[in-house]
């Protein structure tokens, strides 16, 4: 008895049913090509392939070294990157660690003093850091630690991340500027700086000054 919808029946003859033509047309390379095309179409709602080319930070604003960026309660200008050995006033938790340093000028544009300086910057592209948050933040002028920042008073800050001595020496790092949005808190129903997240990214050359 032969199959109604195609296939090789007991009589040795290939029977063509209602889907027989489609089955003949489908080959492996056609299926793969179709899936790739489908995947490409599926990226369109998320920005298409142009965004994907920009990497992980494709959705963020791109800024340059020395360019100011308004990220909500603060305006940030990243001015440089350094690699330093552990030395005063820096004090690594692990003696052999070195420091990946980001220099930045930060001005509070909110209307009140802020003490959340740990929320301003993150870095990427440096291996074996002690953590995501900076391990130290100090004023460049007198090395005051974790200073509160006041409205209308731009301050030059040193952001430092401890790095294991066995890590590769970074030639450059990505510095991500985080920000917040002033909006109504639906729980407390008062205006607060919320939605802490990534806002802009820049690539910063790292000057190796461990022997300077």
């Amino acid at each position: 008895m032969s199959s109604t919808y195609g296939g090789q029946g007991g009589d040795g003859v290939y029977h063509v049913g209602p889907y027989g033509g489609l089955r003949d047309w489908l080959s492996l390379h056609r299926v793969v090509a179709g899936l790739v095309a489908l995947a490409a179409v599926a990226t369109i709602p998320f920005g298409g392939l142009n965004k994907a080319d920009a990497g992980r930070y494709g959705g963020l604003a791109r800024v340059e070294v020395g360019q100011a960026y308004d990220a909500g309660p603060w305006r940030v200008t990243v001015t440089g990157g350094r690699l330093l050995k552990d030395q005063p006033p820096l004090r690594a938790k692990k003696k052999t660690n070195r420091w990946v340093i980001v220099l930045a000028t930060v001005e509070v544009t909110a209307d009140e003093t802020r003490n959340d300086t740990l929320d301003i910057l993150r870095i990427s592209g440096a291996e074996k850091l002690a953590g995501d948050e900076p391990d130290t933040i100090m004023l460049r002028s007198d090395y005051s630690l974790l200073p509160a920042l006041h409205p209308g008073l731009p301050e030059q800050l040193i952001f430092g991340w401890e790095q294991d001595a066995t890590a590769a020496v970074p030639a450059s790092i990505d510095v991500i500027i985080w920000g917040k949005t002033l909006r109504m808190n639906s729980l407390t129903e008062s205006e607060e700086w919320l939605d802490h997240g990534e806002r802009a990214v820049l690539t910063v050359p790292v000057q190796d000054r461990r022997n300077a």
Binding site: T113, D142, P147, H150, P151, E189, S190, E191
Partner: protein, 203 residues
């Protein structure tokens, strides 16, 4: 009574109660919509006082005695001078607790643009550095604020309250500072040898 009507009445009363409850919730929401910003309606109870005048809150008494400024200041215990991109405003005040050991936790300056500057954490503050006030014992000390120079273009007010961050519906003393003018700030800025006075018991 017909059992069907009895059931209908019971269901009707539940529906009526549910509708009444929804109406009450809706009414409450509309009242909240009328004034949604809790930051405004939970603001501290501010009492304005002139410089030199002593004022008692529920828990502490305070008087702002004088104000000065500097371009750099040194801690009462010594160390390096702390410069600023703006100007240091140094306020001398007297304070005591009323009903038991207390701290004045909140020290800030408010300028004419409603910007609020907390007392600086860059210097070792005497009276603001966790000093516990004792009932009936008046102490005098200085509090330093770091502000941009443009605050001198309008009025500058010291705000004092018991709780450092959560000042909602708290008693707050507001003292408008006299003599913080643009010319005074220019003069103060050249003084880079100021030292914060140590806190002393005065009576």
């Amino acid at each position: 009574m017909n059992p069907g009507i009895r059931v209908l009445r019971r269901v009707g009363s539940w529906v009526a109660a549910a509708v009444a409850l929804l109406l009450i919730i809706n009414l409450g929401n509309r009242i909240l919509e009328f004034q949604r910003d809790t930051r405004y309606f939970q603001r501290p109870f501010e009492v304005s006082v002139a410089m030199g005048e002593t004022k008692l809150t529920r828990t502490f008494g305070v008087a702002v005695v004088s104000v000065r400024g500097a371009g750099a200041i040194t801690d009462p215990t010594g160390g390096v001078p702390h410069g600023t991109n703006g100007i240091w405003i140094i306020v001398t005040l007297r304070a005591t607790a009323l009903d038991g050991p207390r701290e004045i936790g909140h020290y800030s300056l408010r300028d004419a643009r409603d910007r609020v500057f907390w007392a600086s954490d860059r210097v070792k503050q005497g009276i603001h550095g966790g000093r516990t006030l004792q009932p009936g014992v008046w102490i005098e000390g200085e509090v330093a604020f770091e502000v941009p120079r443009d605050v001198a273009t309008g009025k500058l007010t010291v705000l004092l309250a018991e709780h450092r961050f959560d000042t909602r519906v708290d008693s707050m003393i507001a003292v408008e500072l006299d003599g913080v003018t643009t010319s005074a700030v220019d003069t103060w800025a050249s003084d880079r040898t100021a030292t914060l006075a140590a806190t002393t018991v005065i009576e």
